[in-house]
Symmetry: C2
Subunit: 368 residues, 2 copies
Amino acid sequence: MTHEAGIPLGIRFKLLSDTPQDSAAQVVNEVVVGDYRDLDTLREFARGCDVITFDHEHVPTEHLKALEADGIPVRPGPEALVHAQDKGVMRAKLDAIGVPCPRHRIVRDPADVAAFAAEGAVEGGDGFPVVLKTVRGGYDGKGVWVVDSVAEAAEPFRAGVPVLAEEKVDFVRELAANVVRSPHGQAVAYPVVESQQVKGVCDTVIAPAPDLDEALALRAEEMALGIAKELGVVGHLAVELFQTRDGRVLVNELAMRPHNSGHWTMDGAITSQFANHVRAVLDLPLGDPRPRAKWTVMVNVLGGDYPDMYSAYLHCMARDPQLKIHMYGKDVKPGRKVGHVNTYGDDLDDVLERARHAAGYLRGTITE
Amino acid sequence: MTHEAGIPLGIRFKLLSDTPQDSAAQVVNEVVVGDYRDLDTLREFARGCDVITFDHEHVPTEHLKALEADGIPVRPGPEALVHAQDKGVMRAKLDAIGVPCPRHRIVRDPADVAAFAAEGAVEGGDGFPVVLKTVRGGYDGKGVWVVDSVAEAAEPFRAGVPVLAEEKVDFVRELAANVVRSPHGQAVAYPVVESQQVKGVCDTVIAPAPDLDEALALRAEEMALGIAKELGVVGHLAVELFQTRDGRVLVNELAMRPHNSGHWTMDGAITSQFANHVRAVLDLPLGDPRPRAKWTVMVNVLGGDYPDMYSAYLHCMARDPQLKIHMYGKDVKPGRKVGHVNTYGDDLDDVLERARHAAGYLRGTITE
């Protein structure tokens, strides 16, 4: 999707890919298959690149520092990216700059989890449930546990990675504030969106978030812009937020790349998150982030039980000529994100129904 | 641009390109460099393709027939495409199906041109000027001559290609009707646009055509849909039209591929011409062709005197964050189409000014 956005800007990509089957490797002109965890591979790959950027956060921080030392611009840089790689570092930094987060601390073992829970307990309770996260390597609900007792708290420690405990926030809904920042400090903010998760995986994004108090929306945008600045982010920053019952926003997660909560921008904003990410990492002037429609809805297409989606794909295009389908060219596996759909218009109910119907039909959970 | 439109649909391209430097060859994953005039090259290339389509009309008709005979779907097929390849065939067919064209006939030599002119002369005149066109091989004003006398009429015959004579139409402006048709006959029509040429080259397209009588717009759309049907076009068909002083539309040229007069659709329509062309050639349901904005303007970026456009590119993005730039990755040569810009909005004067400023600045003819 970043390549797609780079084509009209005249920007050409060289891709380092795990396998030739990866989505991006199917469409980019120059593809190198190699392991992003291997510094020699990265150094060889980086030769001749004007700038390096990412579609995930898993390249080891120390390798990125080595590339920077070699004189290759890495954007976002490792000093910023570490906050999206390590949840412990992220929480410590957000605390230091005064950004509201769920109550949290690094915990040593299950007994320490019980102590953390007790610190937040209301009278007569034990403070459970508690959220436990490995500080590195999680995504889409992986590496995250919601535990109801000390007995359940053993599992997260088995990987030998530091574990972060967080209060389970009593939230009304989840929001996301997406911003883009360029090296010389220009920044733009997309409207705050509502993000609905199913089983820890993003399902639906509504842009802008319906019935969101204007002051709270502004606070969320300013918070995201502030985080981008304080952390020295270059490129796209997604700030996943909890909207609490008492009218606050707390930071849940950070992602430093075009993000699922910004996929709606491909059809719903004047400039997509992918175009602005590319513009930012090349220090080009940023594009207008404003929406083009009153409502835009994105629903992820998850793989279902049937590997062949072709007839569903035909059905969806025929049923709704305004539907914007984005397929990733991935083999269908149950629950795997294989694409997304965008719809837009003036009537939120209609826009939601069209997106949900299409995504459900493509997955096979809707058959009429 | 077709590849860009195919990515979200999950459609993968193999490209036959003249050189590795061609615009499409810079961005498509699988590129074969070879000569489209060589049948063996075409046959080798076509192996494994589900369908073959084009971004120009120059592949020899007989080669396309050979590919079809090999069982490769060619869309548009040679029986249709010949009407965009040979202006003599095109005029004969349009006459046969009753589509209004400028007065025309094939001419043998300069004396015959004088006779053709005299046939249309008003009292006391000689009937010049007359438009002469080689029936094959012309584009962007090449292969077209406007001659004022029999003495000037020798040049077009030198290539040894049949020459078509046409009346020089007294037109108010040029329009274009863009339609897309799929193999099973579904068709969509984009709004009729105004196309402004400078020195025979498309300069500006305004969508929809301002102040166009609704009945005339409908007639133009129906004419284009009728031509697509009668000629068996599959994919995009652009019908370039003259709007005459007496309120008629006459067909100037046909193009059977995404066309410069439809580039506005990339940012201005719900479904772009490129996406609909791809959908049509794969017999997928077509997308909604309606505009997303009240006005969309496209201005071509021609190469100027300075090969390095980078600082102009920065300027344009900084001046107008809503500007949509489409650069083709071509080396800059004076007068060469190296990209286009799209703007859209509610105020036509503003939309026109922004597009013209950006294109002029990129070319170097505007410096402030």
